[in-house]
Amino acid sequence: MRVPFFKMFMTSPFEGLQEHAEKVMECAWAFQQAMECYFADKCKTFEEFRQEVAQIESQADAIKRRIRGHIPKRTMMPISNFLVFRYLREQDQVLDAMEDSLDWISYRSESRIPRELEKDFALLVDAVIDPIEQLSGLVVEARLYFKKFSEKQRVVVKNIIHTLRRQEHEADNYEDIIKKKVFNMEVDAVTIFYLVRLAETIGSIADHAQNAGDMMRAMLAK
């Protein structure tokens, strides 16, 4: 027997967002492994990790499509569905940026990062992993806020967003240092293009994480 009353209750999009965030976290781990492998001298597993990242990305894509497909026009949520979609888009672009970075490397797999830039790149990668870790807690904490609406919990979420912003700024700094150094190096133009673009793509991971945070901030608006 189907009762109309139950048709009102639908799966919360937050559940999907959380699942998606977990995928981002999982992907970050594989991304980090791939990058470390790339920095190492004789790396054989880079391609494996790149495939893993691509695979996780496509899984996350399926989650994204599922969320989008299950919010009908007249869904009543504590926040506008526009914000949910924007948040999801930014969180998904974090994944895309990770995949893009590895793809970029794979186009020029014979090349290596110059010794004097190795440390800077390692720092940059670490700097973009930090915001992803923050991001994974963001949905969980925000959900808690929408359960209790306590000011304290709101501050917790706002603090995460604040941390995201700070970490993005740090990642930006590392990106700038790399770019500056690259242009002062005695290398061919193609290598310069390659390195600058690589730094920018890695840096954009943190950008998108921060954008996701900004969307969450909009959801918290009273």
């Binding site: 109309p4 007249r74 306590s150």
Partner: protein
């Protein structure tokens, strides 16, 4: 005339069937949030709903029913007892058919509106369009809109109060416990008041409105405080915060809804049956007929049977479906729905428990209490508001013609 006894038997059967349908469909509205929030088990829900529906029907259900519900149709159509008998029977049959069709197709219709519609159909057949009291009908239509809105408002403010005074606090447990007398008391206040107004029990006590309010208030306060003591006694673990408190309170509100439902909906099933009964026994009928207690009991048992037979399946699906409803939210939904239904039925307005329950959920949703609610149900319900009455009316007309030919 033995013919009339056959009519009475058919009346009993369809009255019971109607009550069964109410039980099978509407129990979900009463107990859904409590079962979904894991305040009670399915078995407990069925047992409580069954008992309390009977209690509500017998003790709070109206003991005097208007021959034609709410005076929408003028009583001049009832001057011919034979015609009135056929009319009451066809109204009952039409409503029962429409409700079972709706159940089959899972359309959000109201049993209350079906019976009103079929009564109109009979009125038109028996006396033409002139017997329909259009202003009364308009008032009834208004009440269908007002009752969900009323429920939305109650649920909205109840949830806002709970956020402001309990959920947003550091220690939700202690705040919930402190305020529990208010929530328990409010429930008791409405229940006691509806006992005191317009029931034989209330008449015997013969309290004036002020005295009734005073009695209800005193009882509410004392029950509220006793409830708090009991909660303090029973709940030792405080990790769950406010939700653990509301889980216990929700057992009470689930009962509240079942009680209100029994009181309100029993008339839908046995209102026309009472008319048939009266016509067969006395041969005539006035503007109102007294409803014998055994008929109320009959209706209550019918509802309880519906709950018992179909309740399990309904509740199993809903237990899985509405996990989103936490105890505080469930409390607001149930409190709003039951209060709306009890107040409206005491004011003599035909309201639907389903719509009141839907209103409660939307109220909590508007207060940002739910992560996702499908709002489109509202438009569907509005569509079936508009459809139910004519559909039941036309069915009633057809059955009336057939019966007139047969009897």
């Amino acid at each position: 005339m033995p013919n009339e006894y056959y009519v009475l038997i058919v009346g009993y059967i369809f009255g019971f069937y109607m009550a069964w349908n109410i039980g099978a469909n509407d129990v979900a509205n009463a107990m859904a949030s409590s079962v979904g929030a894991k305040a009670i088990t399915i078995r407990q829900a069925i047992f409580l709903a069954g008992i309390l529906n009977i209690l509500g029907a017998v003790f709070i259900g109206s003991h005097v029913t208007n021959t034609i519900r709410k005076g929408i149709v003028s009583t001049e159509v009832l001057t011919d007892p034979h015609l009135a008998l056929i009319g009451a029977l066809s109204a009952l049959l039409a409503a029962a058919f429409w409700v079972s069709f709706a159940t089959w197709k899972s359309l959000p219709v109201s049993t209350t509106h079906s019976i009103v519609g079929s009564m109109i159909g009979f009125g038109i057949m028996a006396g033409g369009f002139s017997v329909i009291n259009w202003t009364k009908l308009a008032a009834v239509v208004m009440s269908w809109v007002i009752s969900p809105v009323f429920s939305i408002v109650i649920a909205f403010f109840m949830f806002k109060i709970i956020i402001k005074l309990i959920l947003s606090k550091e220690d939700t447990f202690i705040h919930a416990l402190k305020l529990s007398p208010f929530f328990i008391g409010a429930t008791f206040f409405v229940v006691v008041l509806s006992f005191l107004f317009k029931t034989p029990l209330g008449k015997k006590l013969a309290l004036g409105p002020y005295a009734s309010f005073l009695v209800a208030f005193i009882l509410a306060v004392s029950f509220g405080l006793a409830g708090m003591k009991a909660l303090r006694w029973f709940i030792k673990k405080r990790e769950g915060g406010a939700e653990t408190i509301f889980r216990r309170i929700q057992v009470g509100t689930a009962c509240y809804v079942a009680l209100a439902q029994g009181a309100n909906d029993v008339a839908n099933a046995i209102g026309p049956l009472a008319v048939i009964y009266f016509l067969v026994k006395t041969g005539g009928v006035g503007a109102t007929v007294p409803v014998p207690v055994f008929l109320l009991l009959f209706g209550g048992i019918g509802i309880a049977c519906g709950i018992g037979m179909a309740g399990h399946r309904v509740m199993e699906t809903m237990g899985k479906k509405i996990t989103a409803l936490s105890n505080t939210r469930g409390f607001c939904v149930e409190f709003a729905a039951a209060t709306t239904v009890l107040v409206a039925s005491k004011m003599g307005l035909p309201v639907s428990t389903t719509h009141a329950a839907v209103g409660g959920v939307l109220g909590v949703g508007l207060a940002r209490g739910l992560e996702a609610v499908n709002f489109s149900i509202v438009f569907k319900i509005m569509l079936y508001w508009v459809l139910t009455v004519p559909a039941a009316a036309v069915t009633s007309m057809v059955i009336f013609k057939i019966l007139q030919f047969l009897l």
